[in-house]
Amino acid sequence: MSTAKIFKRPDGRKPDEIRAMEAKVGVIPNANGSAMFSFGDTIAIAAVYGPRKMHPQHQQNPEKGTLRCNYSMLSFSVSERIKPGPNRRSTEISKITEWALEPVLMIKKYPNMVVDVHINILQANASTRCAGINAAALALAHAGIPMRDLVSSISIGKLDKQLVVDLNKEEEDWEEGEGSTDIPITMTPNGEITHIQLDGRITSEELKEVIGLAEKMTKEVYEVQKKALKDSIKI
């Protein structure tokens, strides 16, 4: 870890330092469950509606309930205005979020029904899908939907040869040396991976190291989520 001391990140963070995290549940009174999660400048809010009857009827599944996620970046969330509405990227992230959350959700008891999760990115500075998944996990728990566990998500990056956690926009566009690699990972507190993506180049040895690091870092995220849920009720 000698390189760890020499390496300097653009915003002065340590390689394994996450941006300041904040989490809150119950931010949307109209929804059955809601939550906000932020990594520094990246802010995501999630609202859960349901379980409710699936419409159109032909999409109903009589064997188990369905999870439907909808990820969307608000037009003012980035410096250059983005066109509102679904696009290729947001459709993909919506599906990825569904897959990341489904393994921990126990929606077998809700046949013919759907749980809707709407994730909105209020402000983006990279790692939006991780913030979105974290907010969605909190919102689902807040909506009282049975779950095996919570999930926590973090992005691990590789800048040149150095592993760092929680990339921001500047680091995502890193071009020196081997360039930037971005690996968003979602895990349960027991270290079971429910979602992993890779954008860039990495060796298999390094990937193992990434997973080990992710296991450690998702625990930090989990503590923040746990605190948010526990603090929202005062007995």
Partner: protein
């Protein structure tokens, strides 16, 4: 005040509530090895080695025997479709009406948009069956209906009905609490009904405080003083 014997704590999904072979998982909990694990967010409670989690949020889950308040949504040949504020539709069949019904004129008994107090007699995977064949059930003809979060209903009723009886006594109104969170208030004066509405909102907002019944008593005294001053 008597201290609550049962220790309650906030639990989150996946959290280990207790370890040990001699505990049993109840509602909202699951056994994994020798640990009892929560499956939903809420308050964990232990009684006689049975661990259960009281839900604090989420939609209303219909149960057999629940008294609910619903709205007539549709009329069919065999009865009425009732909206009871939960994902499954409820059905009130003709046989469950304690009156002679002319099959051609179902809307004389209950019309669309009418509100009823009913009891759930069965929950199957095909739907929910209701009845109005009992005392206190049937069509609602006057009064006001308010809605609260269905998870707060146990607090509004109180231990063995202590809270609701207090509200009834203080306001001189007839209050029917549906397990689905709809509450029907009927009093002699509109002011009384509005007072009950305010009191119920007060209870559902403060539903986590202990010793709430005493607090509501004080709240009623304060409200009464206010109205007295106004009339003077």
């Amino acid at each position: 005040m008597i201290k609550d014997k049962i220790e309650r704590k906030v639990v989150i999904p996946g959290e280990v509530i207790v370890k040990g072979e001699d505990y049993l998982p109840g509602e909202g909990a699951e056994k994994k090895g020798d640990e009892i694990i929560t499956t939903r967010y809420g308050l964990a409670e232990e009684s006689n080695k049975l661990i259960k989690v009281i839900a604090l949020s989420g939609i209303y889950q219909p149960r057999r025997g629940n008294i609910i308040i619903g709205k007539v949504e549709n009329i069919t040949f065999y009865g009425w479709v009732i909206d009871i504020d939960c994902p499954e539709g409820a059905f009130l069949p003709l046989q469950e009406v304690p009156k002679y019904v002319n099959k051609d004129r179902l809307n004389d008994i209950l019309d669309i948009e009418d509100m009823i107090v009913a009891k759930i007699i069965g929950v199957t995977n095909r739907g929910i069956d209701l009845t109005i064949k009992s005392r206190g059930l049937g069509k609602i003809d006057e009064g006001i209906i308010i809605k609260i979060n269905s998870n707060r209903v146990p607090r509004v009723i109180g231990k063995e009905g202590s809270m609701i009886n207090l509200i009834k006594k203080e306001s001189d109104c007839n209050v029917t609490v549906g397990q689905n969170g709809l509450i029907w208030i009927k009093g002699n004066k509109i002011d009384d009904e509005l007072l009950v509405k305010k009191a119920i909102m007060f209870v559902s907002e403060k539903s986590f405080t202990s010793g709430l019944t005493d607090e509501v008593k004080k709240w009623f005294e304060k409200e009464k003083k206010k109205t007295m001053e106004k009339s003077e």
